[in-house]
Symmetry: none
Subunit: 191 residues, 4 copies
């Protein structure tokens, strides 16, 4: 255990404390009640230390998002013979977030952050496993002839997340059945 005298030794600890406090407050209060002063106080950190490293509230959220501090879940998509079932597994993971207490509020907060800050917007879809897992699974389905060749693979993830986002903005709940119906419609080859 080395104890250094000078240099930004404390920085890592401060960074950790700040992001942790950010995630905690974001869950507790939502995005629009998230304040830099509140984070600084809760993290035991000077405000300047935050401003030195992050340009805005949104950037804090973006970092939390990128490091998986907001959704403590894995969004892996399995790869069986049944693509519809596979995607529904992913859907269940996403809906688990919304069905948790404050789940809808959490997603709405995230959308608010994304609307305000480009960096959050960039990671929104990605953080829910769209690029890394969902799109790959769909692409594999196309390659395997499971889905038609003209399937817009890129868009499908956007379609699913987008639909859920819009339903959440409209304060709808019980997304499970409509979303399953939609997935089946999108992924079932019709004669």
């Amino acid at each position: 255990m080395k104890e250094h005298r000078s240099g930004p030794v404390r920085s890592a600890a401060a960074r950790e404390a700040i992001l942790e406090a950010t995630a905690r407050q974001f869950h507790r209060e939502g995005y629009d009640r998230l304040t830099i002063e509140g984070i600084a106080k809760e993290a035991g950190v000077g405000k300047q230390t935050i401003y030195r490293w992050w340009p805005s509230r949104g950037a804090l959220i973006a970092d939390c998002l990128a490091e998986g501090r907001l959704f403590p879940l894995s969004f892996d998509v399995p790869h069986t013979a049944d693509i519809v079932a596979d995607v529904e597994v992913w859907l269940d993971t996403v809906l688990a977030i919304l069905n948790a207490p404050q789940g809808n509020e959490l997603l709405r907060s995230l959308v608010a952050a994304a609307a305000e800050d480009a960096a959050v917007g960039d990671h929104l879809g990605a953080s829910l496993g769209v690029d890394r897992s969902l799109t790959q699974r769909v692409q594999a389905g196309v390659n395997a002839g499971e889905l038609p060749a003209d399937t817009p693979t890129e868009q499908l993830g956007q379609v699913l997340i987008g639909t859920i986002v819009l339903r959440t903005l409209g304060r709808m709940t019980d997304h499970a059945e409509p979303m399953r119906q939609l997935i089946r419609f999108l992924l079932t080859p019709r004669p």
Copy 2:
């Protein structure tokens, strides 16, 4: 039997001035820079007159939205033999908003408002003509056998708007081609 109250009555002129100023500032500044004080000043109105009738910024936006003060466009969907073409007409109208100056910012602002306020969320889809026009056209297509019977008509509007919203949050542009591709995929009967 009417419930009657004596005393002065709500000023129509003030209501008009407030909503007009709200719409103007919303376009000019975006949602997060929209302030009650700014609206009051621009409308030549006391702050209290706003607070007396609207509980929040969001409610003002919701009213503007409901009265078509934010999008001075009609979102009617034509009804020809070609449903894909018909829906693409609607798409062009929506994209016209996004391609206008500040168009993307406008939509993002609207999303921010919807995330914060339920009333705005309620009207978001509706105000873009989804319920009134788009869903009806799709339903007619199903009824006419133009589309398969299992088409999730209700969801299609959400899918299209949701996808556009998500793309906008991700700061994508050039929605035209991907969206056309998606529409064709959704509405073209596959063998």
Copy 3:
């Protein structure tokens, strides 16, 4: 030529309710928390009815003062052979007000009202019985040779009230002994 007017005449009930509510709120809240709106509500009266008949808060207090609604006491000065004792009776009455709960606050409120409004200032001394009783008793003392001829009778009342006012503004209490000492000094013929 008579100036004629039709319509109902000033409502005595409203006037009564307003002054009563004013006196009640003045005792309860003090002058600076006294509001026209509060009086109107408590009196069950429209604000306009107050503004129609009184130009200011101060005028309301002045009327209350003039009608003895603030101090429900009589400030009569007895007339025995001992002028010092007589004046001390008056002093006790005045001090009774200050020793009542909120008594000091009450006098300070009255001073605040007097500072703001000329009509209150006019009646301040008078309402405490100075002109009507105290000065008369002192003048009688001079006439009877009880006091020296050069006694400034007019000022003596001002001196006593003024001293009490100043002590109250300075948040002093226990005025009794110092005031008695002062009275004795002023009214005892010295060799």
Copy 4:
């Protein structure tokens, strides 16, 4: 051991600007039109900086009073063989304030402030030189046998200021002659 706190220290420039602006507005507008916002604007300071250090309008006035920012005069009492003349010198200084333009309004404002705020009340008499000069002179007179031993030295200052205050509240003017008469009555040994 001193109690030390890290962080920035109170800005002397801000304090100075605030008190200066307070005194200026107090003279210009009087106490009841004195507003925190007005002071902040005139001092080029944030409102919070005022609220951080002073609990109320009254506290600002009290500080101005204590630092001699309201009366730019000296209230020294000379010490000659003629105590009446000496006190009249002091009286002239006080009356000079009242005879200046807005002088009566100034004193009334001060009284209003004193009625509202204890700190102002504490300094009211003191600031007019009563404790520091007048009472000392009177006490010296008693010690020298110039005045009777039973003279209530403490009260005499209150009597003079109190009388002037009361006359001012009653919107009287021309205090000079009555006050001189009173002083002579109080300080002239009678046979």
